[in-house]
C-alpha cells in the first residue's frame, strides 16, 4: 500500500465534502425552514449558550467572532458611547424615515468601521451593514412604506457595503487566506439567501400592496445579482466544474419537517417554500401559495413569481 491508512483517512477530508451546489441547496432549505419555524424566546433572557452566538446589538461582533481583533473596537466604542454616544445606541433600531436613522448610518456605523482593523473584520462588518440594509428594506416593505426613493437609497447603500466587502475579500484572496475568503463569502451568501427567501415571502403575501411588491422585486433582483457574482467568483476561483445534483426525491423524515424544500429535488406535489431542484443560473418558478398542484409556469397574478435563483 502506497499510503499509510492514517494518511488515506485524512485525505478524505479534502475529497469528501458537499459540493457548492449541494451546500447551497441545503442552506436554502434551512433558510426557508427557519422562517417557517421561528425561535421561541423564553422572555427577554432567551439565550443560546456557548458556540459563538451573535448579539443583536451594535456590539454583535465584539463579543463573538474575532474577539482579539475586535478588542480595540470594543474599547473605542465604549469610550465613544460613554462620551455622549448614547444617541448612537438609541439609533440602532432606526429605519429609513426615522429621525435617528442618519445617526445610525453616518455616525454609529462609521465609528464601528473606523475601528475594524483586519480585512476579515472589515469584510465581516461590511457584510453585516449590507445585511442591515436588507433588514431595513424588509421592515419598510412589511409596513407598506417601501417606496421607490427609499428602495433606491437602501439599494445604493447595500451595493456600497457589498462592494466594500468584496474589496476586502479580494485582499484576503490575494494573500492566500482561503479560509478567510470562504468564511466571509459564506456569511455573505447566507445573508443573501435568508433575505431572498424573506423578500420572496413578501412578494407572495396577499397583504402587501402592488406598489410595494414592485420595490420588493427590485431589491430581490439586486440580491440575486450580487449572489450570482459572489458564487460565480468563488466558482471560478475554485477552478472546478461541479457536477449537477443527482436525481432523487426528498423523503421528509418527520411530520412537520421540510415541507416542500429538498436537498436534491422537491416532489411534484410539494408546497410550502417552493424550493425546487436548483441548478446554477437555471430559471425556475417558485409558487408561494398553498395550492397542492405541481409547480408550473405562472404569472404574478396567479400568486407565483418567476425568478432566477442565484444558486
Amino acid at each position: 500500500m502506497k499510503h499509510d491508512i492514517e494518511t488515506l483517512l485524512a485525505s478524505l477530508k479534502g475529497k469528501l465534502f458537499l459540493t457548492r451546489e449541494e451546500r447551497g441547496s441545503v442552506r436554502m432549505h434551512l433558510a426557508a425552514f427557519m422562517r417557517r419555524n421561528s425561535v421561541t424566546f423564553p422572555g427577554k433572557s432567551g439565550l443560546l449558550s456557548r458556540g459563538s452566538t451573535p448579539a443583536s446589538s451594535l456590539f454583535k461582533n465584539l463579543f463573538t467572532r474575532d474577539r482579539n481583533r475586535m478588542a480595540p473596537l470594543a474599547i473605542g466604542l465604549i469610550l465613544a458611547l460613554s462620551a455622549g454616544g448614547g444617541v448612537a445606541l438609541a439609533a440602532e433600531g432606526a429605519i429609513p424615515g426615522d429621525i435617528l436613522y442618519p445617526i445610525k448610518v453616518n455616525v454609529a456605523e462609521k465609528v464601528e468601521s473606523a475601528f475594524a482593523v483586519s480585512d476579515t473584520a472589515k469584510a465581516n462588518l461590511e457584510t453585516r451593514f449590507a445585511n442591515e440594509r436588507l433588514k431595513e428594506a424588509l421592515e419598510l416593505a412589511s409596513r407598506g412604506s417601501l417606496d421607490a426613493r427609499a428602495r433606491a437609497d437602501l439599494e445604493g447603500r447595500f451595493n456600497t457595503h457589498v462592494e466594500s466587502a468584496e474589496r476586502h475579500i479580494a485582499k484576503l484572496r490575494a494573500r492566500g487566506d482561503a479560509k478567510g475568503v470562504t468564511d466571509v463569502e459564506g456569511r455573505l451568501e447566507s445573508s443573501f439567501d435568508v433575505h431572498a427567501i424573506a423578500f420572496m415571502d413578501l412578494d407572495a403575501s396577499a397583504s402587501v400592496g402592488t406598489s410595494t411588491k414592485i420595490e420588493v422585486r427590485g431589491i430581490l433582483n439586486v440580491i440575486k445579482r450580487r449572489a450570482a457574482d459572489v458564487r460565480g467568483r468563488s466558482h471560478n476561483e475554485d477552478g472546478t466544474s461541479e457536477r449537477k445534483n443527482r436525481g432523487g426525491t426528498e423523503d421528509v423524515p418527520s411530520d412537520n419537517r421540510g415541507s416542500g424544500a429538498s436537498t436534491t429535488k422537491a416532489s411534484a406535489g410539494g408546497s410550502g417554500d417552493g424550493v425546487q431542484d436548483i441548478h446554477e443560473d437555471e430559471e425556475i418558478d417558485i409558487r408561494h401559495n398553498n395550492d397542492s398542484g405541481a409547480n408550473s409556469k405562472g404569472s404574478v397574478e396567479e400568486g407565483s413569481i418567476h425568478v432566477t435563483l442565484p444558486l
Binding site: M1, K2, D4, I5, E6, L8, L9, A10, L12, K13, G14, K15, L16, F17, L18, T19, R23, V26, R27, H29, L30, A31, M34, R35, N37, V39, T40, F41, P42, K44, G46, L47, L48, S49, R50, G51, P54, A55, S56, S57, F59, T64, N131, D183, G186, R187, S190, D193, V194, T240, S241, E242, R246, G248, E250, P253, S254, R257, G258, T263
Partner: protein
C-alpha cells in the same frame, strides 16, 4: 452571553451550518455509504437542530450536539427499512466522492480498500476512526463528546487501526495513534 432575536439566531445558525456541514456530511457518508442519502441526512440533521433551538432550548457544544443529532437521524433513516447500499467497493468510493475532485485510479483503489475494511469494524469504532483521522479531532475532544475517558478512546483507536492494517495486509506501523 448576548441576547438574540430571530434574525441573529438565523445568522448564527447558518454560520454554524457553514462551519460544520462538511464534517456532518462525511459522517453520514461513512455511516450510509451513499452520497445522496448523506446529503439528505445532513439536511435533516440541521433541520432537527433548528427545531430544537426554535423550542427555546440551549446548545452547549454545537459540534458534539450536531454529531449526536446526525446519529439519531441516521438511526431513524435506517429504521425505515432502507437498506444500506451494498455496492462493490469501487462503486462505494465512486458514489461518495465528488466528481470535481481529481482522484487517480490507485488512490481510488486504496480508498476502496480502506472503506471496505472499515466495514469490518463495529459502528462505534468506525465512528472513532473517522472522527480522529478524517476530522482530525483530538482524543481528548472525542472522549469529551462521547462521554468516555480519553484512555479508553485511545485504546479503542489503537485496536481499530490495528484491525484495519491487518485487514489490508499492511505491516504494522510504528506510529502510535
Amino acid at each position: 452571553m448576548a441576547p438574540m432575536n430571530q434574525s441573529d439566531c438565523e445568522r448564527w445558525f447558518l454560520a454554524m451550518y457553514e462551519s460544520h456541514a462538511d464534517a456532518i456530511f462525511r459522517f453520514c457518508c461513512y455511516k450510509l455509504r451513499d452520497r445522496e442519502a448523506a446529503v439528505e441526512i445532513t439536511q435533516d440533521t440541521f433541520t432537527r437542530i433548528w427545531e430544537y433551538i426554535a423550542r427555546g432550548k440551549t446548545i452547549e457544544h454545537f459540534r458534539a450536539f450536531a454529531f449526536r443529532t446526525a446519529r439519531n437521524a441516521i438511526a431513524d433513516y435506517v429504521k425505515k427499512a432502507r437498506p444500506l447500499y451494498e455496492h462493490d467497493l469501487a462503486e462505494v468510493a465512486e458514489r461518495l466522492l465528488d466528481h470535481s475532485v481529481e482522484s487517480t485510479a490507485p488512490d481510488m483503489a486504496e480508498l476502496s480498500g480502506v472503506l471496505g475494511c472499515l466495514r469490518g469494524l463495529s459502528e462505534d469504532d468506525q465512528e472513532l476512526v473517522m472522527l480522529r483521522y478524517t476530522e482530525g479531532m483530538s482524543v481528548k475532544d472525542i472522549a469529551a463528546d462521547l462521554g468516555e475517558r480519553p484512555n479508553t478512546v485511545a485504546q479503542r483507536l489503537k485496536r481499530a487501526l490495528q484491525a484495519l492494517r491487518e485487514c489490508l495486509g499492511v505491516v504494522p506501523s510504528r506510529k502510535t495513534s
